[in-house]
């Protein structure tokens, strides 16, 4: 069995998706193949590299999304705190509250505990959104950085297949299916 036959299994191992038997086969192969050990590290590296492509949440994204959803009628209306039938009581209630506060403060009465805030939503919310405009940016680990640096010294991936009995790395042309039995084979093509 040439190295080429185990490349895809090495890839699955890197992702933690290989069966125990496949993982054992990969470990056995890597123990004796430096070239595939390098390839395995490079496979790790490209995964770490993709995670660096994060983008960021645009400013006022939340406002834009909810404005659009409301405009298209995709969301329930926000519930009114005071139903229409109760609104006529707002002014006298406010006046009574102001009078009571005045009386309490003028007598230097002992204040009770703070009045309760707005009724809490029955939906438990998650932690406040990350204020960082960069989102959850995470620095590369030392191991990831070393593996990604390995990519920079890679001169020609064809060297990986130089001593392999099987054909060189296959690259799919745009539009080819990975599962197509008639996918093109042969040397590297310009990407």
């Amino acid at each position: 069995m040439g190295c080429r036959d185990i490349f895809e299994t090495i890839s699955a191992c890197v992702d933690g998706e290989a069966s125990p038997e496949e993982a054992a086969r990969v470990r056995e192969h890597l123990a004796s193949c430096e070239r595939c050990r390098v390839l395995e590290r490079q496979m790790h590296a490209v995964g770490a590299g993709v995670r660096q492509v994060r983008g960021s949440v645009p400013d006022r994204f939340r406002e834009a999304v909810f404005a659009r959803l409301d405009a298209e009628g995709a969301l329930p209306k926000r519930k009114k705190v005071f139903p229409t039938a109760w609104r006529w009581m707002a002014v006298p209630l406010a006046a009574a509250a102001a009078l009571g506060f005045f009386l309490l403060t003028s007598r230097d009465a002992v204040r009770g505990p703070d009045s309760p805030g707005p009724a809490t939503s029955r939906i438990e919310t998650s932690a406040p959104p990350d204020p960082s405009p960069q989102g959850n940016a995470v620095a590369l680990s030392t191991e990831d950085r070393e593996m990604l640096a390995l990519l920079d010294i890679l001169e020609d991936p064809a060297d990986l297949d130089a001593n392999d009995d099987a054909e060189g790395m296959e690259l799919l042309a745009p539009g080819d299916s990975a599962d197509s039995p008639n996918r093109p084979r042969g040397g590297r093509s310009g990407a």
């Binding site: 895809e8 890839s11 699955a12 992702d15 998706e17 490079q42 496979m43 490209v46 995964g47 590299g49 993709v50 660096q52 492509v53 994060r54 983008g55 960021s56 949440v57 645009p58 994204f61 834009a64 999304v65 909810f66 659009r68 959803l69 995709a74 969301l75 329930p76 209306k77 926000r78 519930k79 939503s121 939906i123 438990e124 919310t125 998650s126 959104p129 990350d130 960069q134 959850n136 940016a137 620095a139 590369l140 950085r145 990519l151 920079d152 010294i153 890679l154 001169e155 020609d156 991936p157 790395m169 690259l171 799919l172 745009p174 539009g175 080819d176 299916s177 990975a178 599962d179 990407a191």
Partner: protein, 192 residues
């Protein structure tokens, strides 16, 4: 704390707050996925808005037969795929960035937050992100989606298969092919 599936059911019953909580939990992941798939900040924002609109509209028919995030990424992938198809100029794969645009830095690379790392390392990581973004854009959409969902968003092969509507073996092959193509593309950047 309610699960995502419970929140979706509450939203289906008319709770706006439930949707707001779902948005808070997942909007960054949605934007990040759209960015990785489209490579364009403006397209990513538009696609992300479309994704949440589709999630909201799909609520009446939502059934918790799978993880909410699996369903969410299915919606997200279709939205980005439709966006790419709408903007393609020919062929199955949509070019994201031309070489010139990538090198001119027309679309700013998002740097990590301030910290006490070596500035040279910060610049190196930013350049790396730029190169990966370009290389990702040259992958066929199905391969890019499989790789981004697994390596970028942490979905298992099984979950990726559900999102893409393919077999687990197909996911395994696509992810391996994506790695091959990325390694080839990145090595060309070095030797160019």
């Amino acid at each position: 704390m309610p699960t995502d599936e419970e929140l979706m059911l509450l939203f289906r019953e008319g709770s706006r707050e439930a949707f707001e909580e779902l948005f808070s939990r997942h909007h960054r992941a949605v934007v990040r996925f759209a960015w990785r798939m489209t490579g364009d900040p403006f397209a990513a924002e538009e696609a992300a808005q479309e994704i949440f609109l589709r999630i909201a509209r799909a609520a009446p028919a939502y059934r918790p037969t799978a993880k909410f995030t699996t369903w969410m990424y299915t919606v997200a992938r279709r939205a980005t795929l439709n966006y790419l198809r709408d903007t393609k100029e020919g062929g199955e794969k949509v070019p994201i960035l031309s070489e010139g645009e990538a090198e001119d830095g027309v679309y700013p690379v998002q740097l990590p937050g301030p910290d006490d790392r070596n500035p040279e390392q910060v610049v190196w990581e930013a350049q790396l992100a730029q190169r990966f973004r370009t290389a990702l854009g040259e992958l066929p959409e199905g391969h890019r989606a499989a790789f981004v969902l697994n390596r970028g968003d942490g979905l298992s092969y099984e979950e990726v298969a559900q999102v893409l509507g393919v077999t687990v073996q197909a996911v395994k092959t696509r992810i391996f092919r994506a790695r091959e193509m990325l390694l080839s593309r990145l090595s060309k950047d070095v030797s160019a």
